[in-house]
Structure formats: structure tokens, C-alpha cells
Symmetry: C2
């Protein structure tokens, strides 16, 4: 059995995004221009991983903060949070109103004009659906969309990209009940493929290159289907041992 | 600027590993046979992601357990742990003697013969170094090696693959001090590339296909260097807010 390869393709060329921009249209243009260099085009079952930052800019999730005060966005962090989970010095780990648990409620001033902070999209799954539907409508191509952000995590140093929202691709692959290689039943092997795909995309996007989009080609067509990150990945407080 | 693509290539063909096997030699054979189909071969700056399970088998980190009792490995979980972090019913989240925090001390009975449980390698960074050095010695090719396992995480459902150990590739990419796209200094952007690479590899390895190795091609040569997971990624208790 020869399994297919995955290709992780950086898509440069997205212009600086401003509120009201047609983000899906600009992503299509960047993909077409970038893929044309290798005589390729967007196709069914491609997955596009889009940085949260450009989604927030297009959706005008921007707030003015004091450019000279590196802590001036902290009141926004509390406003965007429903509960502080841990606090050490200026670091606030909180549960956001969307349900994510992360530092500073996902509010970010890097790669932003001075005095501007980007908040998370109101509904990143919905943002992903809009981009997916726009691409399906304009190109007739069915892709998966992941809106990705960079989060820390307990117990391990370093950040990784994870999915804030998704559309068209199932967030969790449920391998429970599939036979393992020696023929017995696998127990509780639910793989969060959208987080793994978001992390893979980060590897070609980089942080300082301003590449907001990556295309992942070769994803198993069986992985495309319904589901969202907030409903399927964010753990409910009742089943969470760590808050 | 056109960034290079990453390719994630499954490497099937590793035989069932038994204690004492020359794992590096078998990985080389599987790579050569698999890559030969597309007239390729292992090259400098390839990264090989190897499942913890085959490393544990080769290193004889196996224990007999009662095949009829699904909980018979629980005493091993406590033996391999230095501290229980959370417990709910039969689920034990603990800090292992290596420093990882995970369920069941990483002990696993899936894809194993009945009555056998696989423990984590004693030193996964060392295991990675041995494989890396063997490949360098036999082929003259300098690759990065990641030993990967599947862990859960707080707050988010689904599992992802992470790095237990690495060699030849830097575990954390320190982007602090690099200018971001608008020219100001990035703060605290340390990306755990070995975890993102491990997760990317999982996407082609699957859980039930028995593909224990994936090759990642196209990684930035600047990312190759010293470091290990236990020293560089595992967070010290003093800086950890969640134990």
C-alpha cells in the first residue's frame, strides 16, 4: 500500500488586509498567482490554512490602544475573557468568550500598526465557512478552510499553531472502533487533524515572513465533512480536568 | 520571495520490530525501498519522524501484562510516574520519570501482541541521536530525527502527535528578536517546530496503517542544530503554571 504524500505549500502575495476587504477573493488571487508558477491551480480537497490575523483585520476586529504602553491592551484581554484560568505577572491565561483557553485572550499587537491590537474573530468557524463557500461559489472548487492561531500550552515550551475554526474538513478524525494493525479494536484514538494541519502550515508560513496562507494538498478525501472547532474541539468544562 | 514547499512522505515497509533489532538499519532499508519508487533517496536535511512504539520495541521497553484484564498495566503507570497530576476513574494523567505529562505514563497496548505493554523509551533524545548517528555513519547523510508519540492535551478534544525526543534538528525555533513583517521586534515567539513536524507526520502515518516512519523534506537547513526535547521543550515545574 502506498499512501499519498502531503504537500505544504506557502502562498505568499496576500496584500495588507484592511477592514471590509474581500478576504476570500484576495486568497483566491494569491493562490492562483502562486500556483500558476508551477502550472497548478486550486482543486477539490485542498486545505487552505489562513492566519487568524488576516481574518481579524478583514472583519474589523481591531481596537485602538496606546502605542507607547505595551500593556495598554490588557483591559481588552479581560473584556474578551469569561474567566481567568492562571495569572502570573502580566501574563493572563484565560477562557475567552469563544471558549478557547489561551494567553491574552488571543489579542495580538505583533505585525500590526502601532497602537492597533487585533482581537480574535467573533466566530472563527463561521469565518472559515464564509471563505469556503466563497471559493466554492466562485471557482466551483470544494476546499477545506482552517483559521489558525499560535497558542502556548501547559507543560511544554514553545508555541504551536492550532485551529480556531474550520469548514469543509472534519476537525476530529474518529479512529475508535477501527481495527489497528494487529486486528484489535483501537480505543479512544480521536486525532485532532485540524490542529495537526494548522501546525504543519505554520512550518512554511513562518512568523516574520508575512505569509498568511498555506495550502495543504494530498489530504485524504474521506476527511472532508462537517464540523467546527468550537463545537467539536473545544472541551466542555464538565469533561475538562484542567480548569 | 518564494518559500520552499514541505513534503510529508509516508515510509511504509518497516517490518514488525522485535527487541534487539537494528532499528536504524531497518529504517534505512524502508526509506531506500520506498523512495526508490520515485527515484529518490535520503538526503541531507531530511527529517525522519519515527513512532515511539517501534523505538520502544527495539529497545525492549516491553512488559508482560494480563491479556484478559484491560487494566493490568495500571501498576506500571504508577511505577513509571513521579507524580499523579490528575485522576478521573481509570484515567491517570501523570508526570513520567522522563518529565512528560501525559495519560497512562505513555504506556500503550494498542498495536501490541495480547499481554504485552510498551513503555516509553528511557531517553528518547538519546534514541533519536543513535538513529541519526547510525544514518550519518552508514550513508553519510545528515538527517534530523524525531521520536513521536500521541498525546492528549488540556482544553481541547482529540489527540495530536508530539515529539518525545529529537536529534539533529533544533526543537524550538527562537524568533524572539527577529523583525516581524512591519519591522518591529517580535516578542516571545518560540515555535516548537519538532511538535509541529511530529503532528504533520502523523497525518500521513495514520493510526491503523502500521506506518511507523514518515519523511519530511524541505525543512529549512537553518533549523538543523543541537538540542533535545527533554532539555528544551519539557517545561520545568518552576516555570509551569499547570501542575
Amino acid at each position: 500500500m502506498s499512501s499519498p504524500r502531503l504537500e505544504i505549500i506557502p502562498i505568499p502575495g496576500l496584500p495588507e488586509i484592511v477592514p471590509g476587504d474581500d478576504l476570500a477573493g484576495l486568497i483566491i488571487e494569491a493562490c492562483q498567482s502562486s500556483l500558476a508558477e508551477s502550472s497548478e491551480q486550486l482543486q477539490d480537497h485542498d486545505v487552505l490554512v489562513v492566519s487568524q490575523k488576516v481574518v481579524s483585520k478583514a472583519e474589523n476586529k481591531l481596537e485602538q490602544v496606546d502605542p507607547d504602553d505595551p500593556l495598554s491592551h490588557k483591559p481588552l484581554v479581560l473584556r474578551e475573557s469569561v474567566r481567568v484560568v492562571r495569572r502570573r505577572g502580566e501574563l493572563i491565561i484565560s477562557e475567552t468568550k469563544h471558549g478557547y483557553i489561551c494567553a491574552n485572550a488571543g489579542i495580538d499587537r505583533s505585525n500590526m500598526a502601532p497602537g492597533v491590537a487585533a482581537l480574535l474573530p467573533d466566530d472563527s468557524d463561521r469565518s472559515a465557512i464564509r471563505i469556503r463557500d466563497a471559493i466554492a461559489g466562485r471557482l466551483g472548487v470544494e476546499v477545506g478552510i482552517i483559521v489558525a492561531d499560535t497558542f502556548g500550552r501547559p507543560w511544554r515550551r514553545g508555541l504551536t499553531d492550532i485551529a480556531l475554526g474550520c469548514a469543509g474538513i472534519m476537525p476530529i478524525l474518529d479512529l475508535r472502533g477501527t481495527d489497528d494493525a494487529v486486528g484489535r479494536e483501537l480505543h479512544v484514538t480521536e486525532v485532532c487533524i485540524v490542529d495537526e494541519l494548522a501546525g504543519a502550515a505554520e512550518l512554511v508560513r513562518g512568523k516574520s515572513d508575512g505569509i498568511a496562507v498555506a495550502l495543504i494538498r494530498g489530504v485524504d478525501p474521506a476527511w472532508f465533512g462537517p464540523g467546527g472547532v468550537v463545537t467539536d474541539v473545544v472541551r466542555s468544562p464538565a469533561e475538562d480536568l484542567f480548569r
